[in-house]
């Protein structure tokens, strides 16, 4: 099942890409699994995700804790640093 990944702020800069569409492997069940999987995709990913606990994740525009499963109907997953708006 293809899913769109979007990256923001220094996560985007370190990965070197703003968005991409990937096929989620069977081994990826939770948000934490996804971060593990992505970290192995190359140097930029490793730099972006070296401290996975600071990475915030949104599934289809909703903040989601790392221990949650990624539903089969999820279409867009966003990875970004803690927010600094306001």
């Amino acid at each position: 099942m293809p899913v769109k990944l979007v990256y923001f702020a220094w996560v985007r800069e370190r990965i070197g890409s703003a968005e991409e569409t990937i096929e989620l492997p069977e081994s990826v069940s939770t948000v934490a699994d996804l971060l593990d999987h992505l970290e192995g995709r190359g140097e930029g990913y490793a730099a972006a995700l070296e401290n996975p606990q600071v990475i915030r994740v949104a599934l289809d525009h909703e903040h989601t804790p790392h221990d949650r499963p990624i539903g089969r109907d999820v279409r867009e997953i966003a990875l970004f640093p803690p927010m600094t708006g306001g």
Binding site: V6, F8, A9, W10, A58, H61, E62, H63, A78, F80, P81, P82, M83, T84, G85, G86
Partner: protein, 153 residues
């Protein structure tokens, strides 16, 4: 309140002004208190050239709307708006505007403060600094105090 109000939520490059936004809300005859919060770009003692505001289109509006609706559930509001700018913002310029109206001042102050605390920690915006010395600045780091401010509610 008979019938919950609908919040005004906007993400935009353009500046805003308070009087226009308050008038547009047309908060109605039961409004006795209107609180506005404006967040401005500080000059950091002259070292900051500009802030670059990045956001997550779609989610930014969705999250701001969730925060606004939570405030509307918690306080008897007659008007609520949250407007956030994006793009390049110079020192002294506006970044964010929150407006809360209610019959009495306590609810208006609390709702505006609540929305700001949640906006800071939950709305997907990020600030990058550009320095006046020409060097590329850093991404602004989130403050522990902001999370604490959110948790008090």
């Amino acid at each position: 309140m008979a019938g919950a109000i609908t919040p005004v939520v906007r993400v935009q490059r353009a500046d805003f002004d308070m009087d226009t936004e308050c008038a547009a809300l047309a908060p109605g005859g039961d409004t006795g208190a209107l609180v506005t919060f404006t967040g401005l770009c500080r000059d950091e003692d002259g070292t900051l050239g500009a802030l670059e505001l990045e956001h997550y289109p779609g989610m930014a509006e969705a999250e701001m709307t969730r925060i606004a609706n939570e405030a509307i559930e918690r306080w008897p509001l007659t008007a609520l708006a949250a407007i956030h700018r994006t793009g390049r913002i110079l020192p002294g310029e506006n970044i964010v505007l929150v407006i809360a109206g209610s019959a009495h001042r306590g609810a208006a102050f609390e709702a505006a403060s609540f929305v700001m605390d949640f906006l800071k920690s939950r709305a997907p915006f990020w600030k990058k600094e550009h320095r006046t010395d020409g060097s590329e600045g850093d991404w602004v780091e989130a403050k522990d105090g902001d999370t604490a401010a959110m948790r008090r509610w």
